[in-house]
């Protein structure tokens, strides 16, 4: 039982972290709370439905293409819609809300409201100690880990990744040493949406897909990021693990709705007591 709770918790955590990292990256760099983040997850899953489910493309190629499309959409949205509003937190937030409802209703109009399922590429389970682990979730977990490692290496060693960290820390000094903020904005937004798209594509065969599927992962990412500290990348990882595991415990003992209430009460308390979250820096 305990092993099962831990395994379920970690499997959920990895996807939460994937969503939360992008969400927190956008906030750290652009000071925008991206309410549309769940919609990029949904877009990833819908592309997966088309490419893998209907057209029969190879699984991993379809996941990659779905993620890339999410990322591309993110870059376009940043360049055309968010860029004119830089510096206006409230307007940026409302813009993300607008983009979210546009994406959601566009998918609703093209695919209809029904939940659809994507063929499962892997089936069966294996056992880790006494816990049953489905193969499809295992593949998702391995892919998510791989993406996280690549993301870590990118942020730590790539020029662009370093530039993103610099802008997040201090945009003025960053521009003094010749970092173009525009490029960083667009690429950070694109990277965040790429990860959301990949997360959605990976999860598409696990659950059903539909226009409203992005709402729950968005809520989770939001809770995780507040817990870890808005704008903090290590905080997103820690928060993701904490929320994934605690939720697994509460869901097993009570129900998933109670788990949601618990996590919102947690958010409320954290913002009131320590608004910077567990690992967040002080206000700029």
């Amino acid at each position: 039982m305990i092993e099962q709770i831990i395994v379920n918790g970690i499997l959920a955590s990895l996807i939460y972290i994937l969503m939360a990292l992008g969400f927190t990256l956008i906030f750290g760099i652009m000071r925008i709370v991206n309410f549309a983040h769940g919609e990029f997850y949904m877009i990833g899953a819908m592309v997966m439905l088309m490419l893998f489910g209907s057209m029969g493309l190879p699984y991993f190629l379809a996941v990659l293409l779905a993620g890339l499309l999410g990322g591309l959409l993110g870059v376009v949205a940043e360049r055309l819609l968010f860029r004119p509003l830089v510096g206006d937190e409230l307007a940026g937030m409302i813009m993300s809300l607008a983009i979210g409802i546009i994406l959601q209703s566009a998918i609703l109009l093209t695919f209809g409201p029904a939940e659809q399922s994507v063929t499962r590429p892997f089936s069966g389970t294996w056992h880790l100690f006494s816990a049953a682990v489905p193969w499809d979730r295992t593949v998702v977990a391995i892919c998510a880990l791989l993406i996280l490692v690549i993301f870590y290496l990118f942020m730590k060693y790539a020029r662009l990744g370093l530039a993103m960290q610099a802008v997040a820390q201090d945009p003025e000094t960053a521009s003094l040493v010749g970092i173009e903020p525009g490029t960083v904005y667009a690429s950070a937004f694109g990277l965040a949406c790429l990860m959301a798209g990949l997360a959605g594509a990976l999860m598409a065969p696990v659950y059903t897909v539909g226009p409203y599927m992005g709402e729950l992962p968005m809520l989770k990412a939001f809770v995780v990021v507040i817990l870890g500290g808005l704008g903090s990348l290590p905080g997103a990882v820690l928060g993701g693990l904490l929320i994934g595991l605690s939720e697994s415990v509460v869901t097993t003992l009570f129900s998933s709705t109670i788990a949601l209430i618990v996590s919102f009460v947690l958010v409320l308390m954290i913002v009131v007591v320590r608004p910077t979250g567990l690992l967040g820096r002080g206000a700029r």
Partner: protein, 305 residues
């Protein structure tokens, strides 16, 4: 008065349901008179520079509060309506000092989480609130022995309350309080150094906004006679944001104009309701990019030019 024509148009519009005499038109108009005070309550919070996603939750508290008082305890509807709104106000006064210390993005997230919790409680506590199946059998509103049974009655009640709240908002805007709100927005440090109690004013306007939302909720409950948690969810906040963004935040006239333009849309698009949110989204984008001050300011500037 620069707004004279606008007011004239609004008064004529308010009379339209009686001219048409159509029950359906009365229903739509009644819903608008219930939603405009909601938009005003969000506008009041925006005036102090805070986007509150908690307004539908306060409306829900007012609605469930007054409905339950009238149903279970047999409280006269007028008192139940007032008590429901006061419960919402009391909750705002309790959480206000905690919430309003925090500004900007974190405040939005706080009110969002608060709204979600309230809604989940409505859903989960089925013995009291009826859960997702809804709360049935709310009695009709009555005042001085007159029972309000049809939508024209509720439309009249809605208009009356709307006029009251609007007049109150305009008064606040033009008074010293309005000036204090503006100064807190412009330069809080300076404003506080001149002796304005920033947190006190913020809590005051949060409480007033909760009261307005609570009254709207009560009227809604008595009018519809049935409550379900999803009514008071995040989508209503989206509606209120759209209404404020299109009309403009600067004046209380903004949300009124925005509401009259936007809220009948779902009714006109009845055969294609899926397009409603798409249109909301596109409207938001256009106004954010090109008319960030909103329609009212845009029209006023144009006339002056």
């Amino acid at each position: 008065m620069r707004n004279r024509y606008l007011y004239l148009i609004l008064v004529v519009l308010a009379l339209v349901p009686w001219l048409l005499g159509n029950r359906y038109v009365f229903h739509v108009a009644t819903m608008i008179t219930i939603m405009i005070p909601m938009a005003l309550s969000m506008n009041l919070m925006l005036k102090i520079g805070q986007l509150s996603i908690a307004q539908p939750a306060f409306m829900g508290i007012g609605a469930y509060g007054s409905a339950l008082l009238a149903m279970r305890l047999g409280v006269p509807p007028v008192l139940a309506l007032l008590a429901g709104a006061l419960i919402a106000t009391a909750i705002a006064v309790v959480v206000g000092p905690l919430f309003l210390r925090i500004k900007g993005v974190y405040f939005v997230l706080l009110t969002y989480a608060f709204g979600q919790i309230v809604n989940l409680v409505f859903q989960e506590w089925t013995t009291l609130f009826g859960g997702n199946n809804g709360l049935y059998g709310i009695p009709k509103f009555s005042i001085f022995g007159v029972r309000l049974t049809q939508s024209p009655h509720y439309y009249a009640l809605g208009l009356l309350l709307l006029a009251l709240f609007y007049a109150l908002m305009r008064r606040i805007e033009r008074s010293d309080i309005g000036a204090i709100f503006e100064s807190l927005n412009e330069n809080e440090m300076l404003s506080r150094s001149m002796g304005s109690d920033a947190l006190g004013w913020r809590i005051g306007s949060f409480a007033l906004s909760a009261f307005i939302a609570g009254v709207s909720g009560g009227v809604y409950a008595f009018y519809i006679g049935f409550l379900s948690p999803e009514t008071f969810g995040f989508l209503m906040s989206v509606d209120l944001i759209v209404v404020n963004a299109i009309g403009g935040v600067a004046s209380a006239l903004g949300p009124v104009v925005g509401a009259i333009l936007i809220l009948p849309l779902p009714e006109l698009l009845r055969d294609a309701r899926e397009y409603q949110l798409l249109i909301y989204g596109v409207c938001l984008v256009v106004f954010l990019l090109f008319f960030r001050q909103g329609l009212v300011v845009f029209l006023q500037r144009k006339r002056r030019a």
